[in-house]
């Protein structure tokens, strides 16, 4: 006996949200900066696809542009910039050696966070108040947000703060696009410019931190005293 619900049309919304979650998990399980960036790149590609799907459903051309910008800026430019700026940092500074919560536990926590965001979305917004796009993507965007936050809090490496921030930003982008069916294109471009500048500044800061203190561990930075 096969449930008739499962035999529905190929559900591109569900599949793209699965793709987004898999990319987020890749950030949680991997230890190396380059691995995180490739996971982020993959996530951004899926995000662009999701945005294009929303554009198709909503019939708004602005979202197509936002999807193209996502592909260009998040999948190509930001990883390139980050790789270029951190090229001179030593490799052993770029791997997460011991996060506050162990990797295997953090994977399980991330899975629970996904569950939590689904439960919360159900609680706050019953399905009847939302259309299909929003009800599929809202919990995913919330879990991207929560996992990004968790990655930022959990890891010692300062590079992680950047990656976590980028994941949160991806979640926010998905949130706004799914809920409002596209902001004004001017605002979108502003956000993209913002995130680009933010990444550049923070990566320069990271480089300076690594040069001055010879570590990227945020735990170490707390110990500094002016004496």
């Amino acid at each position: 006996m096969v449930d008739s619900m499962i035999l529905a049309q190929p559900d591109i919304l569900m599949l793209s949200s699965a793709g987004l979650l898999i990319a987020t998990f890749a950030v949680v399980v991997r230890r190396g900066f380059v691995d995180w960036l490739s996971a982020y790149r993959y996530q951004s590609i899926v995000l662009a696809g999701a945005a294009a799907t929303i554009a198709y459903f909503a019939g708004a051309w602005e979202i197509y542009i936002a999807a193209a910008l996502t592909l260009l800026i998040k999948a190509i430019i930001i990883p390139k910039v980050l790789l270029r700026v951190t090229r001179k940092i030593k490799d052993e500074l770029k791997t997460e050696a011991n996060p506050y919560v162990s990797l295997r536990l953090s994977v399980v926590i991330a899975a629970l966070l996904v569950g939590l965001s689904y439960a919360l979305t159900r609680q706050m917004l019953p399905d009847s108040t939302l259309d299909k796009v929003a009800s599929t993507y809202l919990p995913v965007s919330m879990s991207l947000f929560l996992i990004g936050l968790f990655v930022m809090v959990n890891r010692r490496l300062a590079l992680n703060q950047v990656v976590g921030l980028l994941i949160i930003e991806n979640g926010l982008f998905l949130f706004t696009t799914a809920l409002t069916h596209g902001l004004s294109i001017l605002i979108e471009i502003g956000i993209f410019a913002d995130i680009l500048v933010g990444v550049v500044i923070s990566s320069i800061l990271l480089y300076r931190i690594s040069q001055t203190f010879d570590t990227l561990d945020v735990g170490e930075l707390e110990k500094l005293r002016d004496d």
């Binding site: 096969v2 035999l7 529905a8 049309q9 599949l15 699965a18 295997r104 994977v107 899975a111």
Partner: protein
């Protein structure tokens, strides 16, 4: 009546095929691995030559060992061969499906593993104990991941009967569903579990005899001759079963959704062989690309499998 007989004949043919061709699959994987490492590699028939050679050789059994040491290879071979009876291979059907479902199959694998672990401890050699304790650690961690994955699969496809879930998977594909999201997460988890269960590289290196890294090889280090042949053969059967199960559950393209006509049967046989070959090549490529993981990092990978199947459960209930 004659129809039942045909079905039983098909089922027995499938089982014999998987038992007979399992070493060939092993040989192909070794060959692919060798070629990707720019080695020439042994012939794909080498596992058969090894088995024949081992069968001809005398067996040395430690006089310190008990009956468990002698019984374990038999138990392993019989348990794995019995598990092969329940797996639908070329057709979404196995006539013995009423006698055992996917849980029985995993139980048989567990029985085989239990006896081989006992045998490893039985001879009281340092290596046997070392291999056994590692194997126990890995299998204790694999189990929750495996059962969550099976949980997702049986929820999505309805039931634990292998014939019906494989048929349901094929039916889904025929009706135009490429992959269900919950199955996508189950696929990731099952792939990791499959590597762990068949002792492939991030978990165990099947080609090593280096004492620091070997797991399965350390357990069976004391075996020789016919017993070793049986162990190797059942290892390859287990791997073939897992690959077949993976292909039939998650990549149902080309599989007939019911047992009708000879032409659909031919398509599903051909597509099955192609898919299994591709999958085994993929595994061999992964083996070439990655190094064996440190033993204490393995729980990371298995935690990922557990988390993935947890999300699979979540997606099912949406």
């Amino acid at each position: 009546m004659s129809e039942t007989l045909t079905l039983v004949a098909i089922g027995i043919f499938q089982t014999i095929a998987i038992i007979a061709f399992a070493p060939l699959l092993m040989g192909i994987m070794r060959k692919v691995k060798a070629r990707t490492q720019k080695r020439l590699g042994a012939s794909v028939l080498q596992p058969y030559y090894d088995l024949l050679k081992l069968l001809k050789k005398d067996e040395v059994v430690s006089d310190q060992s008990s009956w468990i040491f002698r019984a374990a290879p038999w138990v392993m071979l019989v348990a794995t061969a019995t598990a092969a009876l329940f797996v639908p291979i070329f057709l979404p059907f196995s006539p013995f499906g009423t006698a055992g479902d996917i849980l029985v199959m995993l139980g048989l694998f567990g029985l085989a593993r239990f006896f081989i672990m006992l045998a490893g401890l039985d001879v009281a050699s340092a290596f046997g104990g070392l291999g056994t304790s590692r194997e126990m650690m890995i299998s204790a961690l694999v189990e929750p991941a495996l059962f969550l994955t099976i949980f997702v699969v049986s929820l999505t496809l309805g039931g634990t009967n292998l014939s019906s879930i494989v048929a349901a998977s094929a039916g889904q594909f025929v009706s135009g569903v490429l992959i269900v999201p919950s199955m996508l997460f189950a696929l990731i988890a099952f792939f990791v579990v499959m590597l762990a269960e068949s002792g492939r590289i991030p978990f165990d290196n099947p080609a090593t005899h280096l004492e620091l890294t070997m797991v399965h090889e350390a357990m069976v280090l004391e075996y020789s001759g016919k017993s070793l042949a049986m162990i190797q053969w059942s290892q390859s059967i287990k791997q073939a079963i897992l690959l077949a199960l993976f292909v039939n559950l998650f990549i149902p393209a080309g599989m007939a959704s019911s047992i009708v006509g000879i032409d659909t049967a031919a398509t599903s046989v051909v597509s099955f062989i192609a898919k299994v070959l591709l999958l085994s090549m993929l595994v061999a490529f992964i083996e070439t690309r990655t190094a064996k993981w440190r033993l204490f990092r393995l729980p990371d990978l298995l935690a990922m499998a557990i988390a993935s199947s947890m999300i699979g459960v979540l997606f099912f209930y949406l």
